[in-house]
């Protein structure tokens, strides 16, 4: 007689829940020491629902299938020298940011979920975190493999993990994840599992990746979509976590709301770099940052928060500021990198005239008024042979660690300054959002490793900026940095294409 096939619910129960055990002789609290200190109250872990009932055997089966497809494409990409098919060599600089700024976050996510998964008393949550941890490890690995092909032909890829730990602008993503990972397990889940995965990774992995495809980069779009197929599971886990916490105890609502406020703000700040990658670094355009933001943040996030309203959860604090900033941040960020092009591990450039017109069309309220003049100035200086590289070092926000490039939304030509005093020390911020986060946990953020201050303290070598770039950051000065025009990347590309 053939054995009856189990349905997925039963199979899942047998392979997960029933593997848990009772703590008959050991103290359960000692087994899960991190479960209480954040103030979250869990009354019954068995109420945890897993939306995807993926057991380990099915997990491996489908992940293996994804990997086979992915690596077949990587092989085809390499065998066909498909780096030659990208729309424009400028595009590759976005991928350099990806490898140095994003892939190491996948590794941090892997570490974070491994740790967090261990700390939850509920077996459903533990299993889900364990799978997510494996997924994130797969993401970093596949990204390194995909980009190793570019590393053979373009500059700036060689020291990505060293750079992630040291380079000034990479302290932004690094410190974001360090903040989440040094929080308790529940905050980590709201930070990464919910806020980051549900709304924010979509913006990077969906419209940007579609843009990669549109720019002829099949390797990147494929690892992107392959990773994002796992993210779909992660997002669902994030939503499950939040519903579970809100249903467990009414006291959890206020704590969760505070984390949502914090992490949506931090996430919006972090995504500034993605905004710039979409608007300025994809030569073939799919959609503007503003349009992507409207679809994936305002529409998708709006639906999500309407759904959560029944628990007493409201939209993240400062949503109205965030809404206005979509008109500005990509331009402010690219200008920052353009003017610091000597200190970046990738190339920067003035947008072409067609690109400037596209920006005017996509940002009719702001581009011509506030941002086109900056490019007119840059062009004028370049024509005189004085390509504009700023001197000196910028003031940074203590919380997000981004240079103070953001402006007042009711006065967009004015830098937004905020500050507070704690134990007699002054601290500076780019926004009320970043200030609130500091004031809520000053003992955490007094430890911000701000790259500019570290340079001044002599902890990064130097004092000459060139020495810091080469010796401390491991950039190949004169090769990895500076303008795209005249760069070795550009010269090689022209040789390959047989153009002078």
């Amino acid at each position: 007689m053939a054995a009856k096939k189990l349905n997925i619910k039963d199979k899942y129960r047998l392979l997960t829940r029933d593997l848990d055990w009772e703590y008959s002789y050991a103290d359960r609290k000692e087994a899960f020491p991190y479960e209480d200190f954040e103030g979250i109250k869990i009354t019954d872990w068995s109420k945890w629902e897993d939306p995807f009932r993926l057991t380990m055997d099915t997990y491996w089966k489908y992940q293996a299938e994804k990997e086979k497809k992915l690596y077949a494409i990587f092989d085809a990409f390499a065998q066909n020298n498909a780096h030659m098919n990208v729309s424009d060599p400028r595009y590759v600089n976005a991928i350099k940011i990806f490898l140095t700024g994003v892939s190491p976050l996948e590794y941090q996510a892997y570490q974070g979920f491994a740790h967090t998964g261990r700390q939850f008393g509920g077996v459903g949550a533990r299993v889900a975190c364990q799978m997510q941890s494996l997924d994130e490890l797969r993401h970093v690995q596949t990204q390194i493999h995909a980009m190793s092909h570019f590393n053979k032909f373009f500059d700036g890829f060689q020291e990505y993990s060293h750079m992630h730990d040291r380079v000034w602008y990479l302290s932004v993503p690094k410190s974001f994840f360090n903040d989440a990972r040094t929080a308790g397990p529940f905050e980590f889940m709201i930070a990464i599992g919910f806020s980051f995965e549900y709304v924010l990774t979509n913006l990077l992995f969906v419209p940007f990746m579609s843009g990669a495809a549109h720019n002829g980069d099949m390797a990147t779009v494929t690892f992107g979509f392959s990773a994002q197929s796992d993210e779909a599971r992660h997002m669902t886990l994030g939503l499950e976590v939040i519903k579970f916490l809100l249903e467990q105890h009414e006291d959890n609502v206020e704590i969760v709301q505070k984390w949502i406020d914090k992490w949506f703000w931090r996430g919006s700040r972090l995504l500034t770099i993605v905004a710039m990658m979409m608007d300025y670094m994809l030569p073939n355009k799919v959609m503007s940052w503003k349009e992507a933001w409207e679809v994936y943040f305002e529409e998708a996030g709006g639906a999500l928060f309407k759904d959560l309203a029944r628990y007493g959860i409201r939209m993240p604090k400062y949503s109205e500021i965030i809404e206005k900033e979509k008109e500005h941040i990509s331009h402010q960020a690219w200008w920052t990198f353009y003017t610091h092009g000597h200190a970046a591990g990738f190339h920067t450039w003035i947008p072409t005239d067609e690109e400037l017109d596209w920006l005017s069309e996509k940002y009719p309220e702001t581009f011509d008024k506030y941002y086109r003049p900056r490019w007119e100035l840059a062009k004028e200086m370049e024509a005189k042979g004085e390509r504009f590289y700023t001197k000196g070092l910028p003031q940074l926000c203590t919380t997000c660690q981004i240079p103070m490039l953001f402006t007042e939304m009711d006065d967009p030509t004015q830098t937004s300054y905020r500050d507070t005093t704690y134990n007699g020390e002054r601290y500076h911020f780019c926004s009320d959002g970043c200030k609130d986060i500091f004031e809520d946990e000053p003992e955490k953020f007094v430890q911000s490793w701000l790259p500019v201050h570290q340079i001044f303290q002599g902890n990064c070598g130097g004092p000459d900026v060139g020495d810091i770039l080469s010796d401390f950051y491991h950039m190949n000065v004169g090769t990895d940095n500076m303008d795209m025009k005249g760069s070795p990347d550009e010269l090689r590309w022209k040789q390959w294409k047989g153009v002078a």
Binding site: P33, Y34, F37, E38, G39, A183, G184, E187, Q332, W335, T336, T339, H340, K369, Y370, P373, R374, E376, L377, F388, T390, K391, G392, L393, P394, Q395, L396, P403, M404, L405, T407, P412, T413, Q414, T415, Y417, D419, N423, E425, R426, Y427, H428, E441, P442, E443, K444, F445, V446, Q447, S448, W449, L450, V452, H453, Q454, F456, Q457, G458
Partner: protein, 120 residues
């Protein structure tokens, strides 16, 4: 609570205390409505430096790339120190006129509107 931590009375190490800067203090300087420079500048300066040296030696190193910088009439400039109106004294040391570690100095040039009058 100053931090939510599993360790009771957790205290973080203040990484940017003035003692860590080898005798200098950090001073930030920003030019209002002039965003050719994406952000205010940070300068490590001796607290004994007279204001005049900051204005005529340190600031031009970074700000003079701006086409309007040479046109500034410094008698007309208004200043803010840490958010308050401020009248700098040229020959007085920074520390003796309240410009301390991590102070923000902002200057405003109402007649100069930035490149193309666009706040650049």
């Amino acid at each position: 609570m100053a931090v939510k931590a599993i360790t009771p009375d957790y205290k973080g190490e203040v990484l940017d205390k003035v003692e860590n800067f080898g005798g200098n203090q950090v001073v930030y300087v920003g030019w209002d409505h002039h965003l050719m420079f994406c952000a205010p500048f940070a300068f490590p300066l001796p607290p004994e430096m007279p204001f005049e040296a900051l204005r005529t030696q340190v600031m031009p190193e970074t700000f003079s790339l701006h086409p309007e910088f040479a046109e500034i009439d410094w008698d007309q400039v208004s200043w803010k120190l840490d958010g308050e109106d401020f009248v700098p004294q040229a020959d007085v040391a920074l520390k003796d006129q309240g410009i301390g570690h991590k102070s923000v100095l902002r200057f405003n040039t109402p007649d100069l509107k930035g490149y193309q009058g666009a706040g650049v």
